[in-house]
Amino acid sequence: MKKKFAYYPGCSLETMAASYHVSAVEVGSKLGIEFQEIEDWNCCGATPYSHIDELLAQTLCARNLAIAEKEQLDVVAPCNACYKNLGHANEHLKEDKDLAEHVNFALEADNLSYAGTGSVHHLMHVFVAEGFDAIKAKVTHPLTGLKVAPYYGCLLVRPRAQGESRETEPRFFENLLSAIGATPVDYPFRFRCCGGSLIATGRQAALGMLRDLLRGARQAKADIIATGCPLCQVNLECYQSEVNREFGTDFAIPVLYFTQLMGVAMGVAPKKLGIGKELVDAKPVLACAARARSAAKESHGSKVGKS
């Protein structure tokens, strides 16, 4: 049976991170996963909603969860921040009946109610849950020789779920990259913050944090950085030239979504994955894809020759 999720794109995937959206859908269809967009979804509140009022922040998330519940589908969010907000609101509301009652009183005004029957997943978790072998089986153009820094960011792994051991060092991103034939480099900054909204509210702090991440990727000899978060992608890529201006550096490291890499490895045309919308050219990935294509042709040719 085809797997189906309530898909919560989040605001960035309609604008800055449009390539994340198209590549997520492409890879989903390759893996036999259907994403049904949550009807009339609203913003998850990012961080600023919690700066004004906690209950308001929970209510924003609950509206999306309630619409997904109507379809009896679990929610998948591609953005780290949306994932954390929706996931945490879901946990809080399940635990706290008074809070849920209050939120439900508000949701009535849009003929909705939240019962807490669904769960929230990050897009990367959903793909990883398919199993690395299943992913490998779909790879036709392995990204051989492409050195990738797996940048998890913060909210994919923090704050950790209750009771989950702090010693657990996730490696699912590295394993995912290996499954598509790429080489994950040892990237010590993989869980370090990109600065998030500090890029707007504390520019100097954010640029310093970005410099550390970029320098780390260069020291690890990564060709590119891969991420599963639109905010991380925009900060690391679009503000790379400002980091260079500020610190006199010369970084030119492409920053792509993991879904774009998966898509390339599964033989999807780069353009269909939104590759080409970067401010830092994705050359290393395109070169690798071209090599993979000619290798695929050759091996196909030799197979035909043998038979």
Binding site: H51, G202, L279
Partner: protein, 187 residues
Amino acid sequence: MWKKPSFSDEITNEMYTTGTRGLNCCIQCATCTSACPAVAHMDASPRRLIGMINAGLREEVLGLNTFWMCASCYSCSEHCPKGIRPSELMYVLKRYSIWKNASKEGLVGPDFSRRFVRTIMRTGKSYEPGYAPAFIFEGGFQGLLNEMQMGLKLMSKGRMPLLPARIKRVDNFRRVLSRIMPLDGIE
């Protein structure tokens, strides 16, 4: 007999939904500070901030930029050996200072947050250019030019819309939110 809650009580009470332990169990070990990637840009480190709250230094705390320099990366909360979640404390102090209209002068954060929330309340979706006035003039004329240049580049790549998006049931959405708090208090 009724006793006026101390500043530390007030802040701890505000942290009630977050599952954190009270600030009074802080042992000042500075694990939070060493886990913080933004600490170099803070007036006072997270450790010092907690110490100041516990000492009741309300005015001094509200005069710091510390909590507005927090990027909510949760690194401190992950590592605190006493189960305090300083990242939640930062949220609480942001809220508290916005309510009391008592933030340090010259910070971008409070204005940015207000603009963001207002935008969502009106349309249900985020729209980056709408918050730009909060920070676009920070870097002087050159900063403004750089920012506009990037906006144009993103636009040419189809990554920046000219107009804000809107959800369909915006009226219902606003009714939902107004059942939580009066919207005219924010708008």
